[in-house]
Symmetry: C2
Subunit: 216 residues, 2 copies
């Protein structure tokens, strides 16, 4: 099996050679290019099509996040790992949004870097401990509240379900009535029943349940 080809991008030479040294200890990994800024990193990725691109977040010209965005477009085969000093929350979201497959803190154990390269080369996601907790928790929380909401919504009749969906989108009773071909009074009665079953005091609370349940 051929070695994993890697591009390293960081504005500091010391960091680049440090990373090179770490990766050199694994003979399944080969560093094929180096860049000192994001712009150059994108060019080199386009030219070399490496399996993995290691990008520092802080770089001149084009930061790691923007570079990751571009790489996702020009070379989808290349998996991006974003490197950063702190697990800044906002960065994580943006990096993963840009299609990064990995997020690694520079303070990580060197072995972790190697593991991360292998992981993303296989197409998997690799998240540093500090980051992983946030991402996973978010996923779990969203899933959990969605499940809870869905369970509550199950108690509703078909018609109430229809009404709730429109209500949750922010429509007025009159609009809902028109959409369902009934008069407004009917919709109001349904809403009343929904509030009762969902244990909500007004339509705002019901709307949030609808939103969580994914009836948007």
């Amino acid at each position: 099996m051929p070695p994993i080809q890697v591009l390293v991008a960081d504005d500091e030479v010391m960091v680049r050679s440090g990373i090179r040294a770490i990766l050199a200890t694994d003979d399944g990994i080969e560093v094929v290019a180096e860049a000192a800024d994001g712009r150059r990193a994108v060019e080199l990725v386009r030219a070399h099509r490496p399996d993995v691109a290691l990008l520092d977040i802080r770089m001149p010209e084009l930061d790691g996040l923007a570079a990751a965005d571009e790489i996702a477009v020009v070379a989808p085969v290349t998996s991006v790992i974003v490197l950063t000093t702190f697990g800044q929350d906002d960065y994580v979201a943006r990096a993963l949004g840009g299609g990064a497959a990995g997020f690694l803190l520079k303070a990580s154990d060197p072995r972790e870097l190697i593991t991360a390269v292998h992981a993303v080369a296989d197409g998997a996601a690799f998240l540093s401990p500090a980051v992983a907790h946030r991402v996973v928790r978010s996923y779990r929380d969203v899933g959990a509240s969605a499940t809870r909401a869905r369970r509550r919504v199950e108690a509703l009749t078909d018609r109430e379900h229809d009404v709730l969906a429109l209500l949750g989108a922010g429509h007025s009773n009159a609009e809902i009535a028109k959409a369902l071909h009934v008069v407004e009074g009917t919709v109001k009665a349904h809403v009343s029943s929904i509030l009762d079953k969902l244990d909500a005091r007004n339509r705002v609370q019901a709307a949030i349940v609808a939103y969580e349940a994914g009836l948007a």
Copy 2:
């Protein structure tokens, strides 16, 4: 550096020995225990305190998810990787909710298993490609909509911000007025202004923005 100690739990002997064989190719990993059901897996984890526990989802007595839950309680130092045949969505959420650090498909490349063990032993999260996409997308979507919502909310004045937070929790204007020590008319005026700035047609739509922005 001592080898990573691993427990393998699967109800089929063939699978267990297969996993053993794969892990044996890496001399940084040592399988210290095997279990054929979830109950036994938990006991052995308690006894051996391995670094990593590989749990099949489908097991008698106690399935992998329930076992993961218990392990998280009795041996927090042990990182759990859940193994499954399909990347069933519901399982992913539950597994990660139970504190699993990794989620691996059995169809994965054997090297991936080794990489995963190293990753979670370091405390990182490892997600199989098929699963990673979902988790990351969810995190990104939530983060993106939250960011968008927060940006819209920034246009509000301090007072309007206060009102929106209470509004988003489903409180009536009268309740908001009491909480902020003003009369109801004032709250209504604020709400009106909020609707204007958020480009919402009624309080339900405003509440959803508040909810997304995390003003709950």
